[in-house]
């Protein structure tokens, strides 16, 4: 630029800048102004280069005016840019829209089966007591399923109608108590009868039933066995109450009624007030207001003796919780069959 650097010229340039700025209509116009005025070879840089030729006495005033021009150009260009950005953002926000009432598209969470939830909760409740979780076969020998458990050959439970017999000469276990027999034998034969024996085991059990809404050929049990010196019926009832209260809440009522099982003596049936009718009686609880959720008792002395444990020295208790029934009660399901229907519309709702 060849214009002589003077205060008048700077003022004229300032006016020119204002004229150009007034004409800016779109973001690309402001880019042209930035190129002309603020770039390396732009007007402002050139003016500063000419400052060295200004007479000394005018220099302060010219420099001040030049700085003022530079500052004005920079700030007004920036303001214009901001104005364009704001405008563009405003326009974008006015135009853009998402309808969040439309259906979601995520894959969604899966779920865990109600019976598994019950099994996992019971396992967690039992862990502080030191129970070791073990598994056992479902295709079982008659010895572990019956003979070892004080169920003689003529017992009704061994009838062909109640028990599945396989072509391999086995039975399908009718209860998880068969695991108890295996663990007692294992402890007796291979671990020097070390006590305490504390085990838990869960899984499927089988009954040869004509199936309908209330009879299943396959259902689930959760077995627990504790053998040690000095265990009492009181301990057993307390532990069952603890499990049920932890599972269902402290307000849930727990009762014990007499039962008969060949492998326990005394035998008891723990029951809880029905979740469906709150104890007033409904089809789910057979009108009783109570639902029996387990079979329990002190291990029969013949069972302990079968594996070489002296029943006069050692006592033990065991119980088999009906996890299907516990799950039905936990999720307010009126029929056990709903637990096994595998209807994903229901199972997905389980949290």
């Amino acid at each position: 630029m060849s214009t002589e650097l003077s205060q008048d010229n700077i003022k004229k340039l300032a006016a020119t800048f204002q004229e150009q700025l007034q004409k800016v209509a779109q973001p690309s116009d402001i880019e042209l102004i930035k190129r002309d005025w603020l770039a390396k070879e732009g007007i402002i840089k050139e003016l500063f280069k000419g400052l060295r030729d200004v007479p000394v006495e005018q220099k302060p005033a010219v420099a001040a005016l030049l700085n003022e021009l530079k500052s004005t150009v920079e700030s007004e260009v920036e303001a214009k840019e901001q104005s364009f950005k704001q405008g563009a953002l405003r326009k974008q926000l006015e135009e853009e829209y998402l309808d969040f009432s439309l259906p979601e598209m995520g894959g969604g969470l899966g779920s865990v089966h109600p019976i598994t939830i019950v099994e996992e909760r019971i396992t967690e409740i039992l862990r502080p007591f030191g129970f070791e979780s073990v598994m056992g076969p479902e295709v079982e020998t008659e010895y572990y399923c019956f003979d070892a458990l004080n169920i003689p050959p003529h017992h009704p439970a061994r009838d062909m109608q109640d028990t599945f017999y396989t072509e391999t000469g086995h039975v399908l276990r009718t209860h998880t108590t068969a695991v108890q027999a295996r663990m007692l034998q294992n402890r007796a034969l291979f671990e020097g009868k070390k006590l305490p024996l504390k085990i838990s085991s869960f899984g499927k059990v089988y009954r040869n039933e004509n199936e309908d809404a209330s009879h299943q050929a396959v259902f689930h049990q959760y077995e627990l066995v504790w053998v040690e010196q000095g265990l009492t019926l009181s301990n057993l009832q307390a532990l069952i109450t603890h499990i049920l209260k932890e599972l269902y809440g402290k307000r849930r009522k727990v009762q014990f009624i007499p039962k008969f099982y060949p492998y326990t003596e005394p035998s008891i049936g723990p029951r809880i007030d029905c979740a469906i009718c709150k104890g007033s009686g409904c089809p789910a609880c057979g009108g009783a207001g109570w639902v029996t959720v387990a079979g329990a008792g002190m291990i029969h002395r013949n069972v302990l003796a079968e594996f070489g444990f002296d029943p006069n020295e050692v006592s033990g208790f065991a119980f088999g919780l009906g996890t299907s029934r516990l799950a039905a009660q936990l999720f307010n399901l009126p029929h056990l069959r709903a637990v096994y229907d595998n209807d994903l519309r229901v199972l997905r709702e389980v949290v």
Binding site: F164, M183, P258
Partner: protein, 708 residues
């Protein structure tokens, strides 16, 4: 059994129970609490309140009114009034001889009576009888006495009995026509009642038509006996028949109950006249009783402190314990032994079947005190909780990955039907023989234990698609079963106790339809679905701290061209693929579906504790190469081959693209081969050198060429 409240009320004072509130009455709760669980309630002004109760399987004495009354009196401490009975039976022997040949009948009584004609049924008896008047009154009376005293009895028309009664066992299968008009096959070994010419009754089960009492009968032989419970049960099961009598004998009848029951019968039939002739001429003609030996006098000694300790009731009073035992029918003597008191309990004859030791009498006292009165004391906690077993650990660890991937846990049964087994056998010959077959299933669907879970899951997918579930994704931790190769010992070796030969734990997964529930999303292609499915398996295995690869497989239940085995290390631990169209069709599954099965015991061997490693500070360098791959070759195999070459600084190999040009008979698969050093930035010529080595090995050892 039916429990008539009015009948028990005659014996003792009962807890509150009105017709209006029977279902919630305190009597109902008392019955539940003493082991007579109420399963049904009827109440009307004609019969009063009738409970249907479920009795304990070992308690024959709970099947009759006096037995129930004893149990209630032990709880409430009310006194029982035993019903009035005739003073004597008869001094004369019956004219019909009795011969007890088998030990399966421990005692047998025969009472000969002449009956009034016509014989009316007392109103106070008729009210408890179903359809009174349908049978001869003496038969209704026998049934009534069984309801009161528990002794099953049977009446023969004396004019049809030839000379003597013989109690023996069948030496062959016999055919009889019973009172119900039906013909039965009676198995060998059954106890039979015969006269000189014919079988009169199948002992303890049912009488025969040939000696039936009819309206013309004027003289009867009343049988009251004790038969072996096991023998009666076997016979009744074999005949497919359960009568009130067989039900009672199977649970054990009172060996000292015959005489009181007959005396009650005589009292009710003849009134106080008893053995003397009444005005109609009815009277007892004679009475014969035979027995093997008198019932055992079983005694049990137990310390009072034992009850207190077991029930955690330190203040349980001796008087209370003694009274409860006496009301249950025990003879009780008490003596001091040291600082303790010792009870000597004489077991009542009707309890000889189930009371053998101190545990049994503990149960009696606990039941009569009430299990809900036991003071509960929680055992001590133990803070070194043991680890989960390996299978359970996998289940717990992998569940979040499955849930996060949108999979829903289902529970399948253990069975397949014969037609399902045939379906599998049609795809893989010899499969049927590997199934564990069930001998006696009542349901056709339960005839075999399942060898694989594929049919079960395919059916669940099909059913849920029909229900309108658009993206069914399911998993099931289950057991599958197979007849093992070779001989399996059931000897209690430790391995067999803790493991087992006929079954193994598996994780099975399946999916069909869309991957996501949203119908707004574009439907995935089968390939995309399969890769998402494989991704879920990857997440599951990663959650276990392990890695997997795939290789070719030949699973006959999967689509032959769309399957792979799942490998961990060098071991095959499972299989994944598209369900075979034949299975899909049989399971009414109309769209292609994925299935995977992982053997959990094998997987557990590769689980490791997850460890993080320090990242390299130096940049990674990669090269993309496109190789020519056969159409039915697994692209992943090349990844494995490159990794096995162990080129220097090789970090990872990824499949970056897979495409086929229309005019080419091979696939072009692009591999991204990544190099990185932990010590320095790699130079370009180092990486090029490694690449040359990799490509040369692929070409020379495996015939895999670079695409042009």
């Amino acid at each position: 059994m039916k429990f008539h409240v009015r009948m028990i009320e005659k014996l003792l004072e009962l807890p509150e129970c009105s017709i209006e509130s029977a279902g919630t009455s305190s009597l109902r709760h008392t019955l539940d609490d003493i082991g007579l669980e109420v399963k049904g309630v009827e109440a009307n002004s004609d019969v009063g309140v009738v409970f249907t109760i479920e009795t304990l399987a070992n308690r024959g004495d709970h099947l009759y009114a006096i037995g129930v009354a004893r149990e209630i009196s032990a709880r409430t401490l009310a006194q029982i009034s035993i019903p009035t009975v005739a003073a004597t039976l008869s001094d004369r022997k019956s004219s019909v001889l009795v011969r007890r040949v088998t030990e399966k009948c421990s005692r047998y009584a025969l009472l000969e009576m002449s009956l009034p004609s016509p014989m009316p049924l007392r109103n106070d008896v008729a009210v408890y009888i179903d359809e009174p008047g349908k049978r001869h009154a003496i038969v209704d009376l026998l049934n009534y006495v069984q309801m009161e005293f528990g002794q099953p009895m049977h009446a023969f028309d004396a004019s049809k009995v030839d000379g003597e009664i013989v109690i023996d066992c069948a030496t062959k299968v016999e055919t009889v026509e019973a009172l119900d008009g039906k013909t039965y096959q009676v198995p060998e070994g059954s106890i039979l009642i015969r006269d000189r010419k014919k079988i009169l009754a199948v002992a303890g089960v049912i009488g025969c038509a040939n000696s039936m009492v009819t309206s013309d009968t004027t003289k009867v032989c009343i049988e009251a006996a004790v038969f072996d419970p096991v023998s009666v049960r076997k016979t009744a099961r074999a005949m497919g028949l359960s009568t009130d009598a067989s039900y009672a004998f199977e649970r054990g009848v009172d060996p000292e109950g015959i005489v009181p029951a007959l005396k009650r019968l005589v009292y009710l039939a003849l009134g106080s006249a008893g053995a003397a002739k009444d005005v109609s001429g009815a009277h007892v003609i004679g009475y014969t009783y035979v027995e093997a030996s008198p019932p055992e006098k079983r005694k049990i000694r137990v310390a009072l402190s034992y009850f207190r300790q077991q029930l955690h009731l330190p203040r349980l009073e001796e008087l209370e314990v003694v009274t409860r035992f006496k009301n249950l029918g025990y003879g009780v003597e008490v003596a001091s032994v040291g600082k303790d008191r010792e009870l000597t309990l004489l077991v009542p004859s009707w309890r000889l079947y189930d009371v053998a030791g101190i545990d049994d009498v503990l149960e009696d006292i606990a039941r009569s005190v009430g299990f809900n009165r036991v003071r509960q004391e929680l055992p001590a906690l133990q803070y070194d909780a043991p680890a989960h077993n390996p299978i359970e650990t996998i289940q717990l660890t992998a569940r979040p990955a499955l849930r996060g991937s949108g999979f829903v846990e289902v529970m399948t049964r253990g069975f397949y039907s014969a037609s399902e087994v045939a379906l599998l056998d049609s795809l893989s010959k010899g499969t049927a023989a590997r199934h564990v077959a069930v001998k006696n299933s009542l349901e056709a669907s339960n005839s075999h234990m399942k060898l694989t879970n594929i049919v079960s899951l395919a059916r669940i997918l099909g059913a849920n698609l029909k229900r309108g579930v658009v993206a069914p994704k399911i998993y099931d931790y289950t057991r599958v079963f197979a007849v093992p190769d070779g001989v399996v010992s059931d000897e209690p070796r430790q391995r067999e106790l803790l493991e087992y030969s006929y079954e193994h734990d598996v994780l099975t997964l399946a999916s069909a339809g869309r991957w996501s529930d949203s119908e707004w999303r574009k439907v995935e292609s089968l390939e995309e679905h399969a890769r998402l499915f494989k991704g879920t398996i990857g997440q599951v295995i990663k959650s276990l701290g392990a890695v997997f690869s795939v290789s070719k497989s030949e699973d006959h239940f999967l689509h032959p061209g769309m399957q792979a085995s799942i490998k961990m290390g060098r071991n095959v631990v499972g299989v994944l693929g598209v369900i075979h169209p034949t299975i899909r069709e049989a399971c009414e599954l109309r769209v292609p579906a994925m299935y995977a099965e992982l053997d959990l015991r094998l997987v557990s061997k590769f689980m490791s504790k997850q460890e993080l490693y320090e990242l390299s500070d130096f940049p990674a360098v990669w090269r993309d190469v496109t190789l020519m791959i056969e159409p039915r070759e697994q692209a992943g195999r090349v990844v494995r081959l490159i990794r096995e070459g162990q080129a220097e600084h090789l970090k990872e190999v990824q499949i970056a693209d897979d495409f086929t040009k229309s005019d080419e008979s091979f696939r072009r698969v692009t591999y991204r081969i990544v190099f990185q050093s932990r010590e320095r930035t790699l130079k370009s010529d180092e990486v090029d050198g490694a690449m040359t080595k990799i490509l040369s090995e692929l070409k020379e050892k495996h015939g895999i060429l670079l695409a042009q």
